[in-house]
Structures are given as structure tokens and as C-alpha cells.
């Protein structure tokens, strides 16, 4: 009886989460790949060019991940361990790149590196987008690590470096593994960056899937490449699972106020490094801001004034401001859907006792990050039409698709906290007579609340900037800001281009406001978080 009472909610939550995922992810993807598998997939797999594609995709993603980790770690250190003025500002600045439309960032990097930008520009642009993931994930855990372990190592004669590599780094592994896997997935599937900076010459699996599906209608080719991409993604996720496996529950956590202090000695070098990274992040941002006030005859605010209009000869169907409102609304919908799904999924994952099952489910929940938006979007065409109410053209589809991207991030942030909650607290509550819901309300909710808010904030920001899925599904009368920006850049006319850059600035402002609001709401974190 008691067993039933515990299992029923878990089963119900699992049905909701995997029902949604099955309907809006697994079925469409399986359907479109299945359609392709009827053709001649073998030839594509046998071509040497296919394997060069795989090599380049994995290589650039690995390089981007390495750069993002290297650049993100000093930032994470400063954000978590040091008390310096402007830390809040730093946190906000680090997040902004994540929402910028890829086409715009691609063009900014193209302007910086010249037309033959090449591999270096792709790697740096991918890293630029993802430094936020590393900085936020790692600093979340770092700020709770007990300094005394490191101090003990130092007093036993270990150098600062030795203490870091043998004590701190292993403790950070779960967060590093999480961050690295997410960054790797984002970099391996980044589409706009490769298209703009690769100039049609450098190709990844993702851009090739896009070309074969969207332009050539070569479904067998696209299916073969999608399967390869899927295999690569699963491999990356497995590595991350192994990296996270050991320490998710076994940490001695401290309040951040105990672990942060004023920088001393060699720490100033880290601060300087973080400053360099920050400058690197700010360069494209400032370039964009300058571009938004440039006119043919010097500086001007024509682009910003134009936000109230619809572009040259009405390029957009709505004004720039309305597009911003659409963005906020859609992202809000995507956020609550992703929160609901992510929390239910975390609840299921914590409740599942068998590690293999839990890890398999976890991996399945991460897959939407690694599958091409084109594959999902084209899958919708052949599956959702057979459902009642023809969802293919519903305005709900955009938040649905965005929620697919945001949900894995919510899980990655919330799950470690739920896992870190001492089971003995729950047992104590149960012994005192609390039912399972009461336990959840009294123990889990208060402990996880702030992390959930942080996840909501970051998820909102991700949804705001999401372009791939959105551009496939957004309706013309309700474009989001990134969709509107791409549309404006696709038309001649000075006003259109100024308006596009002003809209970018607006997107940044909305993002900054969102991040600041969330930071205010959650105050000083006292729970572990991964982002």
C-alpha cells in the first residue's frame, strides 16, 4: 500500500515527461529518419567525405569545448571564490553572449577575422556562446566547496597548483563534466555559426543535414548523417555521465559566504585572466552596439527609433517592440513548460533506484540538445498532421520546441541539488509522520527553490535566444526577435540593417533585465547549482 502511494506519482510524472518527449521529439525524429532509411543510406556512409565531415564536426566541437573551458574557468573562479567589486556585473556580462542571434555573432566574427575566417573563427565563436555555460555551471559548485580541504593539502606541503589539481579539480569534475557535455553538444550542432563563418566550405554534420533536408530533399543522405550525429551525441553523453557519476552526492558543501574572500597573491593573476576573457566577450558585443548606432553619415539613433516601426516598406509584419514582446511571451511559455517537465523528470530520476535505469533515462532526456532542429522540424510535418487539431501550424509549437531545448538544461541544474539533499532528512520527516507530498513540500521544495529559480532564469534566457527550432516554426505574424533580426538582415536597405542591430541591442537589454531580475529574486544561493 505504502509502496503504491510512493510509486504512483513517479509513474505519473514519468508518463507526462516521456509522453511529451515521445510526441514532440522521438516520434517526429524517428519518422523523418525512417522515411530516409527507405533510400540508399549505405552509399552515404561509405563516402570518405562523410567521415571527413564527422571528423571536422567532432574536432571543432572538441576544440570549442576546450576553449570554452579554458576561458570559463578563471571566470568561474572569480565568480565563486573571490570578493571583488562588480561581480554581479560580471555574471550578467557573461550570460549575454548566449542569447545573441547566431547570424549576428557570425557576422561580427566575420567582420573581425575577415572573409576567410576559417576554423579558428568557428571555434572562437562557439566558445564565445558557451563560456556562460562553463562559468555558471562550474562556479555554482565551486562556491560551495570547502576551502579547508585545499588548505589542509597546502599545510602538508603541496604547492598551490598541486593542491588545485589533486584536491579541487577532482571535486569539480561533476560540474566540469556537465558543462563540457552541454558545450560539446551545443558546439557540435551549432548551425548558424558554421554556415556564416565556414562560408559553405567548412561543413559539419549539422549544416550538411540542413542542406540535404531543406535544399536537396535528399532524405536518405540526411537520415544517414542524422544517425551518425546521434551516435556521436550519445557517445559524448556517455562520457559526461561517467564524469558525473562519482561525486554527485558525496560532497561536503559550504555556504558561499564561507568560501569567498578578497583575492590575494597569485589570485590576482586569475583576476587578470578573467579580465582578459571578459574583454574578449565584450569585443563582439561592443562591436554590435557600435554598429547599431552607425549610419551612413556617422552616428545616429535611426535604428532605435525604427524599433517602433516595421522596417523599410514594412519588412516585418509587426514592429520591433512587438517582436520583443513575442519573444518574452514565447520564452515565458517555454520556461514554465521546461520547468514543469524538468522538475517532473528530476523527480523521476531521483526516485529511480537502479543506477543503470536512471542514467539511461537521463541520457534520453538530454538527446534533444544533440539532434538537428531541421530533423525535428521536418519530422513535425509528417507526424503532427495525423494528430487532431493540426498542431503543425499552431502557435504553441514554438514554445514546445524551445521547451525541448531548455528542459535538459533545467534537469542538469536541478538534479544535482535534489541528489545532494541528504536522504536522512527525508527519512526523518517520514518517521515523524509526514506523507510523501508533505516530505517534498517541507524538505525538497525549500532546499531546491533557489536553484529552480536560477534554472528558470537561465532557461528563459536560452529560450529568448533560441533560433534554430524557432525559425522553422514561428508564424510571420508572431516572429520572435531573433527571427525578426534574421529577416531584416535578409533585405536590402539601410534602415533594415540598422533596425536589425538595434533589435540585437534590445535583445541584450531584455536578457540583462531577465538575468538581473533572477539574480535579485534568488538572492545569494545557498544550494548547489550546476548553472
Amino acid at each position: 500500500m505504502n509502496d503504491m502511494r510512493r510509486r504512483l506519482p513517479v509513474a505519473l510524472a514519468a508518463v507526462i515527461v516521456f509522453g511529451f518527449l515521445g510526441l514532440f521529439f522521438a516520434w517526429p525524429v524517428a519518422a523523418i529518419i525512417g522515411l530516409g532509411l527507405r533510400g540508399d543510406v549505405g552509399t552515404v556512409l561509405a563516402e570518405p567525405s562523410t567521415w571527413r565531415l564527422v571528423g571536422f564536426t567532432l574536432g571543432q566541437a572538441a576544440a570549442s569545448t576546450a576553449v570554452a573551458l579554458l576561458a570559463g574557468l578563471p571566470l568561474a573562479y572569480v565568480l565563486s571564490r573571490l570578493v571583488i567589486p562588480g561581480r554581479g556585473l560580471l555574471r550578467v556580462a557573461v550570460t549575454v553572449p548566449f542569447v545573441l542571434p547566431t547570424i549576428v555573432v557570425g557576422m561580427a566574427f566575420r567582420a573581425l577575422f575577415g572573409a576567410d575566417a576559417g576554423v579558428l573563427a568557428i571555434v572562437l565563436a562557439n566558445a564565445f556562446f558557451n563560456v556562460a555555460v562553463v562559468a555558471r555551471t562550474v562556479s555554482g559548485l565551486w562556491s560551495h566547496l570547502d576551502r579547508r580541504m585545499e588548505d589542509a593539502a597546502r599545510s602538508l606541503g603541496a604547492s598551490r597548483m598541486r593542491a588545485f589539481t589533486s584536491v579541487t579539480l577532482p571535486a569539480l569534475l561533476p560540474a566540469l563534466g556537465s558543462a563540457a557535455s552541454v558545450v560539446f553538444l551545443f558546439s557540435a550542432t551549432s548551425f548558424g555559426v558554421v554556415l556564416v563563418l565556414g562560408g559553405g566550405e567548412l561543413r559539419t554534420l549539422e549544416t550538411e543535414i540542413y542542406l540535404r533536408t531543406v535544399q536537396l530533399l535528399d532524405l536518405p543522405g540526411a537520415a544517414a548523417l542524422s544517425l551518425l550525429q546521434l551516435a556521436a551525441v550519445v557517445a559524448a553523453l556517455l562520457v559526461a555521465t561517467i564524469a558525473r557519476r562519482r561525486r554527485e552526492t558525496a560532497l561536503r558543501l559550504r555556504a558561499p559566504s564561507d568560501t569567498a574572500r578578497r583575492p590575494q597573491g597569485g589570485e590576482w593573476c586569475v583576476v587578470a585572466l578573467a579580465g582578459v576573457v571578459l574583454c574578449g566577450l565584450l569585443t563582439p558585443i561592443v562591436t554590435l552596439l557600435l554598429r547599431s548606432v552607425s549610419t551612413r553619415d556617422g552616428r545616429g539613433l535611426a535604428g532605435y527609433r525604427a524599433l517602433l516601426g516595421t522596417g523599410q516598406h514594412g519588412t516585418l509584419e509587426v514592429t520591433g517592440l512587438e517582436a520583443a514582446l513575442n519573444s518574452v511571451r514565447t520564452a515565458a511559455d517555454a520556461t514554465w513548460m521546461a520547468l514543469l517537465l524538468g522538475l517532473l523528470a528530476s523527480f523521476v530520476l531521483v526516485a529511480v533506484r537502479r543506477r543503470f535505469v536512471a542514467e539511461s533515462l537521463d541520457l534520453a532526456l538530454m538527446l534533444p540538445l544533440g539532434v538537428s532542429a531541421v530533423t525535428v522540424g521536418f519530422g513535425y510535418l509528417i507526424t503532427l498532421g495525423s494528430l487532431p487539431g493540426d498542431l503543425r501550424t499552431s502557435p504553441l509549437l514554438v514554445p514546445f520546441a524551445q521547451a525541448l531545448v531548455v528542459t535538459p538544461l533545467v534537469i542538469r541544474m536541478v538534479l544535482p541539488v535534489l541528489r545532494a539533499i541528504d536522504e536522512r532528512l527525508r527519512q526523518a520527516a517520514a518517521t515523524l509522520g509526514a506523507g510523501p507530498w508533505r516530505v517534498r513540500r517541507e524538505i525538497d521544495v525549500p532546499l531546491a527553490a533557489r536553484t529552480v529559480l536560477a534554472a528558470a532564469g537561465f532557461g528563459f534566457v536560452v529560450a529568448l535566444g533560441e533560433f534554430g527550432a524557432t525559425s522553422f516554426l514561428a508564424r510571420p505574424d508572431a516572429p520572435t526577435l531573433p527571427v525578426a533580426i534574421a529577416r531584416l538582415l535578409g533585405r536590402p536597405g539601410e534602415l533594415n540593417s540598422q533596425l536589425a542591430y538595434a533589435a540585437c541591442a534590445l535583445l541584450m537589454i531584455v536578457t540583462v533585465l531577465g538575468v538581473v531580475l533572477i539574480e535579485r529574486l534568488r538572492g545569494r544561493t545557498d544550494a548547489v547549482e550546476e548553472f
Binding site: 547570424i103 557576422m107 566575420r110 567582420a111 572573409a115 554556415l195 556564416v196 565556414g198 562560408g199 559553405g200 566550405e201 549544416t207 542542406l211 531543406v214 535544399q215 536537396l216 530533399l217 551612413r296 523599410q312 516598406h313 514594412g314 516585418l316 509584419e317 518574452v328 511571451r329 514565447t330 515565458a332 511559455d333 520556461t335 514554465w336 521536418f378 510535418l381 509528417i382 498532421g385 495525423s386 493540426d390 503543425r392 501550424t393 514554445p399 525549500p446 527553490a449 529559480l453 528558470a456 522553422f472 508564424r475 510571420p476 505574424d477 529577416r487 538582415l489 535578409g490 533585405r491 536590402p492 536597405g493 539601410e494 533594415n496 540593417s497 540598422q498 529574486l521 534568488r522 538572492g523
Partner: protein, 348 residues
């Protein structure tokens, strides 16, 4: 207490934000006949003209943008069993054959087809009706050539002249639809295998390739806002109309002897819910009101004869008289092979 306050605030924000989006779009006149027009991303129309049509016809027009011409065609082909809408607009002459082969469209012949569109007809059954014409042409920055005392190029052949070395920006034919049109234009102009020799010389003369029209036009081209380094770019015959100075004089010019013609079509989708209303929408796309506002809205030329162009277009963006063209069926048959040959030739 504070904690509950925060949760309350978060909940309030969330419910407010979602309240206006999920419940915010009621459909007051769902009783009226609704026609869904699936269109390419460039579809924009004067709201007043659309509203006027809805009032007169009693048809509520829902527009859904669905990617560029190629993407739109492929989406229509994939969803053919359960069509995405009732009418489609934006399948162009490059992709028309694919749409016809996949039986995406039902026959419909509007009365106005005889006043111009008929000359672009693709098949005997009238499944596609030409709505507009858009020519892909090289554009030049006239000021740059005046300042440098260099004569402007005139033909495709001129681009291989050392005088125009490192001056040309093109979008990649494999990733961009105007880029593909330009490749087809070179096939039409030089034939096989002449086009390959032409591209060899063109590449040797230092053209720069970008993945999309956006980068070529707004970053490489000196005549647009980006004020890039190159004074020759691939764009449309109509683009100069968007590049006028304070005195209304265009800063750029399309080279009318370098153009490749793309015709954009509309048709009633096979399996449309209300084929009759769908036909009325095709009629509307050919109506004088709709045709007249197309140039300013979409930078294309009307397919119907005798529709006046906006003031200034006659000088800034005249319609090319002798653009090159390839039959849709030939494009469909050879497109992939040409693109592959081009890739090997230029990318190595």
C-alpha cells in the same frame, strides 16, 4: 516568509507572462471561411490590401511563412498527404518541376492568367500560376567606379577581366538561393561545359564567396550599409531601389545584361479544405491591388501586364529586358549534378 514572497512573485510573473500568450489570441470570426496561404519567408503584403480583400470576399486569410523557395517546396512535398494549407505561394522556377512531380498542386486557372502570367506557365494543367518575376543580377556601387575612374563591368564575361580582379562578392550556390540562380545563369549563358571554364577563370580572378546573400551584400559590398571592400555583388535587379540617397538617387545599379530570371508561382494545394475559396485567393494574388504593392513590399516585379511600377523604379530598378532562363525541367534534372561539379571545381 521571504521565501514564500519570492515564490509568489515568481509565480505571479510566470502566470502573467503565460496568461497573455496562451489565452491571448482568441479567434473571433472562426465562422468565416478561412484560407491558409503557405508562403516563402519573403512574403509581405500591405495590410490594408489584405484587409480589403478579406472584407470584400468574406475570406479570412492566414499566412504561414515556410522558409525560402526550396525549403517551401520540400515542406509541401513532405506534407502532401496532409497539406499545410490551401494555397501556396513562392515555389519558384528552380523548384517548380519538383513540386509538379510530387503532385503538390491541383489544377486551377485564374481568369487573369491570360494577362501576362500565362507566358511563364509550367504545365498544361495550370497547376502553377506565375505571380511575380524576380531577376538575380550583379549590382555595382556606381560611386566606387566613378571615384576610381574604372568603367563599370557590363557582362558576365567582363568579370574575368583582370581589371575587376578581387572586386566581386558572390553567395555560395550550394547554400544560397540567389547563389544557385547565378550558377544557373552561368550555365544558361555559357552552356556545358563552357560554364565550368568560366568559373575557373572567375575563381582565378579573385571572387569572394560567402554562405549567404546577407554576408555578401551587407558585409562585402561597398554600396550597402556595411560599406565593405568590394564594389560588385550578386543581388537582385530591384535592389538599387532600396539604396537611394537623400535626393532619391540610387547609389547602386543592377547590370541588366547579367540577370537570371526567377518566376515565383502560386497554386491551389491538392487536398485543400475549400478549393473554391483557395482559387479566390489565387485570383486575389493576380488582382491589380495586390500586384501593384508587390514591388515595394517584396522587391519583385508584377507578372500581370500593365501594372504600374512605383515611382522611381523606371530609373533605379528597371526590369531587365533579356534575362537568361533555363526550363524548370532541365534545372530539376541537372541541378544536383551542376552543384556537385561546381563544388569540386571551386572548392577542390
Amino acid at each position: 516568509m521571504n521565501r514564500y514572497l519570492r515564490w509568489g512573485a515568481a509565480l505571479a510573473v510566470a502566470s502573467l507572462a503565460t496568461g497573455c500568450s496562451l489565452i491571448g489570441s482568441p479567434d473571433p470570426d472562426s465562422a468565416a471561411r478561412t484560407v491558409t496561404l503557405v508562403a516563402h519567408d519573403s512574403f509581405v503584403a500591405d495590410p490594408a490590401v489584405l484587409a480589403d480583400f478579406e472584407r470584400r470576399s468574406g475570406i479570412k486569410l492566414e499566412v504561414r511563412n515556410s522558409g525560402d523557395a526550396g525549403e517551401l517546396t520540400n515542406k509541401l512535398a513532405l506534407s502532401q498527404a496532409a497539406p499545410l494549407g490551401d494555397v501556396a505561394y513562392g515555389v519558384d522556377s528552380t523548384f517548380a518541376s519538383r513540386a509538379l512531380r510530387e503532385d503538390v498542386f491541383a489544377p486551377y486557372r485564374p481568369a487573369a492568367a491570360d494577362r501576362g502570367p500565362q507566358r511563364y506557365a509550367q504545365d498544361q494543367q495550370h497547376r502553377l500560376t506565375a505571380i511575380d518575376v524576380a531577376d538575380v543580377c550583379l549590382n555595382v556601387d556606381t560611386g566606387w567606379f566613378a571615384r576610381h575612374g574604372t568603367p563599370e563591368p557590363r557582362t558576365l564575361r567582363d568579370l574575368t577581366d583582370p581589371r575587376y580582379r578581387d572586386l566581386v562578392a558572390l553567395p555560395d550556390p550550394t547554400t544560397s538561393s540567389p547563389g544557385l540562380a547565378f550558377l544557373l545563369g552561368t550555365v544558361a549563358a555559357f552552356g556545358e561545359p563552357g560554364w565550368q571554364d568560366y568559373w575557373r577563370e572567375l575563381t582565378a580572378n579573385g571572387v569572394t564567396l560567402s554562405s549567404g546573400w546577407e554576408e555578401a551584400y551587407s558585409q562585402e559590398f561597398s554600396g550597402s550599409t556595411g560599406q565593405g571592400p568590394r564594389p560588385i555583388v550578386l543581388s537582385y535587379a530591384s535592389s538599387p531601389a532600396a539604396e537611394v540617397d537623400e535626393n532619391g538617387k540610387p547609389r547602386t545599379r543592377a547590370l541588366l545584361d547579367t540577370c537570371y530570371r526567377q518566376v515565383e508561382y502560386a497554386g491551389v494545394l491538392a487536398g485543400a479544405k475549400d478549393p473554391q475559396a483557395a482559387g479566390e485567393v489565387v485570383d486575389f494574388l493576380l488582382s491589380p491591388e495586390f500586384q501593384a504593392q508587390m514591388p515595394e513590399q517584396m522587391y519583385v516585379y508584377p507578372a500581370v501586364d500593365g501594372v504600374a511600377l512605383p515611382p522611381g523604379w523606371a530609373t533605379s530598378a528597371p526590369l531587365p529586358q533579356q534575362p537568361t532562363e533555363l526550363p524548370a525541367a532541365e534545372v530539376e534534372r541537372n541541378r544536383d549534378r551542376w552543384v556537385e561539379q561546381w563544388r569540386t571545381l571551386v572548392r577542390g
